[in-house]
Symmetry: C2
Subunit: 332 residues, 2 copies
């Protein structure tokens, strides 16, 4: 055994001259002890740096105080900025609640071990519906983030991608643009779908024809975006504005512009999605749709925590985006 010389509750009890039950009470509800005993136990626990064995605790009926986070393994779709932001967001929120984080990278197999955690947070659910259904059937406490779920039994917190995209498209329209293209993300992901829908709705509302050739679906990768850009600019009527599914994609458009001598924003307006600081560089500050990833993460943690505390009805939260106007959109 590795740390065999671990201090146990028994040892603490002995040294403090009380029973293990008293030490246990000290751990869980200190005020229930007599002042004197509390001091004695406190002294010993500090002296020996006593740390209760968490799984022994759980086994005895307590909580594990650990949440599981399930993130998709897809590299492009769940690109690094976004994925780490989620992980960091959830991690920080958990830290604040003094909860631990069990990370599960989903790779197509239904192997999430519920027995290790009190509840699960699904970061998106792309390709992971089966596992979600399993936990649901087991009535395992969970919350889904970044994906709005119809099922009324599931708590979820998501982003209003539709509206964010809608507003940005309308913003372009109000700047006089009629030829607005959209570099969409992988449509298996709900956010990509919703952004596409928002884009279309805004065009419709503003009496702009929706042209299929202006809608290019990417897998969220730069490489793919580049190919689609070539297609877009091989068209007879080239777009004067592009709404992108991510800031990374938007950055690729900026690079494309440099290369092809397309002046941005004079000849081409560009809007991104995310407000990814890593994409904020160079001479052009990207106009973009900011989404509150951190907020989404912390709300996910809160909902799960609350639903664990008392049986609550599922909650559905939709967070709004914010259009951050910078340099890459011009009046036509």
């Amino acid at each position: 055994m590795s740390s065999s010389n671990k201090i146990t509750i028994k040892e603490v009890a002995k040294r403090a001259g009380v029973s293990i039950a008293t030490v246990s009470r000290y751990l869980n509800n200190p005020t229930s002890l007599k002042e004197e005993n509390r001091r004695k136990v406190e002294k010993v626990t500090r002296e020996v740096n006593y740390q209760p064995l968490l799984y022994a605790r759980r086994l005895a009926g307590g909580k594990l105080n650990t949440f599981g986070v399930i993130i998709p393994g897809y590299e492009d779709i769940f690109y690094s900025f976004y994925a780490l932001e989620i992980i960091r967001g959830v991690g920080m929120a958990l830290d604040k609640e003094d909860l631990d984080l069990h990370l599960h990278i989903f790779n197509g197999k239904d192997t999430f071990k519920t027995s290790l955690v009190d509840g699960a947070i699904f970061a998106d659910i792309i390709g992971n519906e089966t596992q979600l259904q399993r936990l649901l059937k087991e009535e395992f406490p969970l919350v889904v983030i970044n994906h709005k779920i119809e099922n009324p039994n599931i708590s979820c917190v998501s982003i209003n991608n539709f509206k964010g995209s809608y507003e940005a498209t309308e913003f372009l329209s109000h700047h006089g643009h009629k030829h607005i293209a959209h570099l969409a993300g992988d449509l298996r992901v709900q956010c990509a779908q919703d952004r596409l829908e928002g884009y279309k709705a805004a065009l419709k509302k503003n009496k702009i024809e929706i042209k299929d050739e202006y809608v290019k679906v990417t897998n969220f990768s730069r490489k793919d975006a580049r190919d689609k850009l070539e297609e877009l600019f091989a068209l007879k009527v080239r777009p004067t504005a592009i709404l992108c599914c991510s800031d990374e994609i938007a950055s690729e458009v900026l690079a494309f512009g440099e290369e092809k001598k397309i002046n941005i924003p004079k000849d081409l307006s560009v809007i991104g999605f995310d407000d990814n600081p890593h994409c904020l560089y160079g001479n052009l500050m990207l106009t973009t749709i900011r989404q509150p990833i951190m907020k989404m993460a912390s709300l996910g943690v809160e909902i799960l925590r609350d639903s664990l505390k008392n049986k609550l009805p599922p909650k559905k939260i939709v967070l709004e985006t914010e259009l951050i106007v910078r340099d890459t959109v011009n009046f036509l």
Copy 2:
């Protein structure tokens, strides 16, 4: 309790008509059972989808089969590409070994709970020396990655940043460059230090004077790099080549070049570090120093796993980088 209707080993034993010990054996060493019993137990476990309670297992003397991963919370230093690469790398390696991942984001507090895991993987140790020392004192199994540790008792796997940087600098020198600048990373991080040392050593070796004004220390952020670039190009004798501490920083140099009409690679050669696919875009393919992050991660997992299996002497592994020659370096 959430999933109160959990099937236990007792229930399985009853249904299979064997003792719980037999079920336990089935779980841990199936071949030790009589064919007939094995089938019976297998049938039942499948039927009821039995999942042993992992912490009960551990409590009874088994392993938790969980590794802890401690990553720094610093946003700039531990930037998203790098951090997620580590997380994904360790995650995939653990998955292969059927081990679980407990993620701890280090935020300055010594709060890592050893009782939840069999061993710990430190992803770098910036600012986290105290916690490392504590686990060490407790003789807790651990391995450090991305940081070479002198202490002979600690296993570590790191990158040969010195040599990578050295080779790249020499590569620039061999291309006729004499005015080679270095945009270094935060020097509290060992890799940044080593890269700086490698750079200096290569200059020395090639009889190029080391000028302090050519060495600019950044915090790994684009913003900081931009400021330092301004300083660099305000110098009387401007550099003809820049070695960067990351691809992101190198991307900023590329953007800076575009903006200031500095032709890359004609007027300025640039080398990055990482081989970050997210930085590979635009008309210029970045020449860079590739580091085997995934390999480092999986080796970390292997070492820890092996040292847990049998008490082994600490291992020190240093992985080599590879110079990836693309478009951003020219002969002078």
